[in-house]
Amino acid sequence: MKILIKGGLVIDPANNLNEIMDIFIEGGRICRVAKNINHQADEVINAAGKMVIPGIIDMHVHLREPGREDKETVASGTKAGLKGGVTSILAMPNTQPVMDKPASIKLLKEIIQKTSQSHVFICGAITRERMGKELTKISTLKKLGVVAISDDGASVDAARLMLAALKEAKRNKMVVISHCEDKSLSGNGVMNLGAISTRLGLRGISRESEYKRVGRDIALAKKANASIHIAHVSCQESVELIAEAKKRKVKVTAETCPHYFTFTEEALLDYNTNFKINPPLRGKEDLEAIKNALKDGTLDVIASDHAPHTESEKDVEFEKAEFGTIGLETLFAASATALVHSGLMDWPDLIKKFTLNPARILGLDKGTLSVGSDADIAIIEPCKEWVLKKEDIISRSKNCAFVGTKFKGWVEYTICAGNIAYYAK
């Protein structure tokens, strides 16, 4: 299929491109990026007044398949991603079975091959069953195509094991993605510890439970001279530790999620379980610190931490509800609203956090509009305003903190591997 995208503002941070251009796509690849292309095409998209950006890479997604297909599947999750401009997903390993051994990886690869609507990359587990006791065979996982390792949802408590994982990952040229949480501190907390948890009578999760583990893992990465990526940063102290480590040239990168720069713990005042997230929504100072860290580059990536749960797991007493919000469909719009339309960042700065940066961290040949690369593209109406309604969610689960949120920025087309995979009618 030949597609010609005409007259859009092409923003490709990898090539320092930020001007009105045409893009010609053929055979699933980007063939030309230039002004006034007039090739014959099967489909011509008029992108005047719109932005044309590399397809988004969401490096923190729980697709739930295999095992919890009632919450999400590879098919439904990738489709939801396409609606949000996401063409590449890193699937977290906390499935059933866990992505800790060749048989499980092969099973997931088969599901992806048969049902995926976009590109899905696999994150393997650091430890068997994510139990934090014994390392997986990291080199074997790598050979099967795993691009990173993480025990996401759990932290590796034993420092010696984490150090060994970092060394082994380095030998295999992979990044370790760390869910930083000291369970001995967070315990059975359900929201940020502080005045609001006191007011609501809910058990708190302290900031220390996150940032002390961030500090430990940075120290271990330095010792191993290995790359570490800190997942879902939620608090100011974590940001400060990461900034300081970057100054010391530790190979640390970090991500945050739109909910951490859109909401604070005050969103919980009515016990709405869609705001029950781990790490928890924090205070105003944390939200500001996260925004500033995105601007100054301390935080490299914005990912959704898309965490689907069924209604029956969320429509219960607050302390019983599962943690997490879905976010694939709102990743771009929420970020554009809070970070660009607020005047904090410009578009190339933002787009880098979804494209070039995650591609570099994971070593993917993705996230650019360079000639010859896979034609993964999102076409954006940058100023279109919309409100997320629950009935418009296409993910299999509807647990979304952003229901009712007003956004500015809308994905109109998503092109994946050279095909129009999504069009907002």
Binding site: S197, T198, R199, S312, E317
Partner: protein, 314 residues
């Protein structure tokens, strides 16, 4: 003014005027319990369901007596013996009770926010009879009612709450209610039982019992729930009594007519000495009596919103 809220979930959500309306209504209902025939027909033909997920005798009985004195039919469901054990969710249980055409659910639950979650999923009225560590509005209302009877006003009173503030819904509801009515509140406990950020609820914090008692017009003594000490973080009972127990000796240094309250059940010799519990300063049994009047008022007021709604739709 008239009452407009479907539910009573907590004193946080009420205005000063709404709290005053409950207190005034309670005052008029108090007289009913002094009659030889202790019954008025205010809730005749209405069904009140006491849905109790936590064992509770005194609050349930108080609600039951209150509802019966209003001529309502009362059903008691305790979670231990209901379909909850078979895995039914809170919301499903609530909707089933609604389908039985009950009018009011009185809920007690160990999870903070349970009443809020139930209330937004049913159309019938929900009264919170205590949710986790969050709120216990009728307890605070009866405490405030008792104070008002004694002092004639709440504005300007100094009230100290002593005990396990961290895990106390009684403390939180009292803080909201007393602050809204213009009292000043001090909380006093060992440091580990003062929750973080409690100052932001506009209370003074002290770890010194004598300071808490010094200028207080009333002291509300919370029950020490040693059986709930998950992290084994509490002091021993003996240490607690030594440092925080309300004793005659300590009261002698306080205002002469200081009022001593306790939400019950009291642990004699743990948080309060027997001598104090039985003294003239103690209003603990009056609180129990006032609890009926306050709960009658709350049941009556929420039932009125339903009637008004019915009229509106006719």
């Amino acid at each position: 003014m008239h009452w407009t809220k479907k539910d009573l979930l907590g004193l946080e959500y009420l205005s000063k005027e709404e709290i005053e309306l409950i207190l005034e209504t309670a005052a008029s209902f108090k007289e009913v319990s002094r009659r030889s025939i202790k019954k008025v027909p205010a809730l005749r033909g209405q069904t009140v369901v006491n849905l109790f997920y936590e064992p509770s005798t005194r609050t349930r009985v108080s609600f039951e007596v209150a509802a019966k004195r209003l001529s309502a039919d009362v059903i008691n469901i305790s979670a231990q013996e209901s379909s909850v054990r078979k895995g039914e969710t809170l919301i499903d249980t609530g909707r089933n009770i609604q389908a039985l055409k009950a009018d009011i659910i009185v809920i007690r639950h160990s999870a903070s926010g349970a009443a809020n979650i139930l209330a937004r999923n049913v159309e019938i009225s929900v009264i919170n009879a205590g949710d986790g560590w969050h709120e216990h509005p009728t307890q605070a209302l009866l405490d405030i009612f008792t104070l008002k009877e004694k002092f004639g006003h709440i504005q300007g009173l100094k009230v100290s709450i002593v005990g396990d503030i961290a895990h106390s819904r009684v403390a939180r509801s009292n803080i909201w209610g007393l602050n809204k009515l213009g009292a000043s509140v001090t909380v006093c406990a060992p440091k580990m039982l003062i929750p973080p950020g409690i100052e932001e609820m506009a209370v003074k914090v002290t770890y010194d019992i004598e300071e808490a008692l010094k200028d207080a017009d009333a002291v509300n003594v919370l029950r020490m729930q040693f059986e709930r000490d998950e992290q084994k973080a509490f002091p021993s009972q003996i240490d607690y009594f030594k440092h925080f127990g309300i004793t005659q000796e300590r009261l002698e240094k306080a205002k002469k007519d200081i009022i001593v309250m306790h939400p019950g059940p009291i642990n004699r010799g743990v948080e309060i000495s027997s001598e104090v519990a039985d003294s003239l300063n103690s209003v603990i049994l009056e609180q129990v009596t006032n609890g009926i009047a306050v709960r009658m008022a709350v049941l009556y007021l929420v039932s009125q919103t339903k009637e008004r709604k019915d009229e509106d739709t006719d």
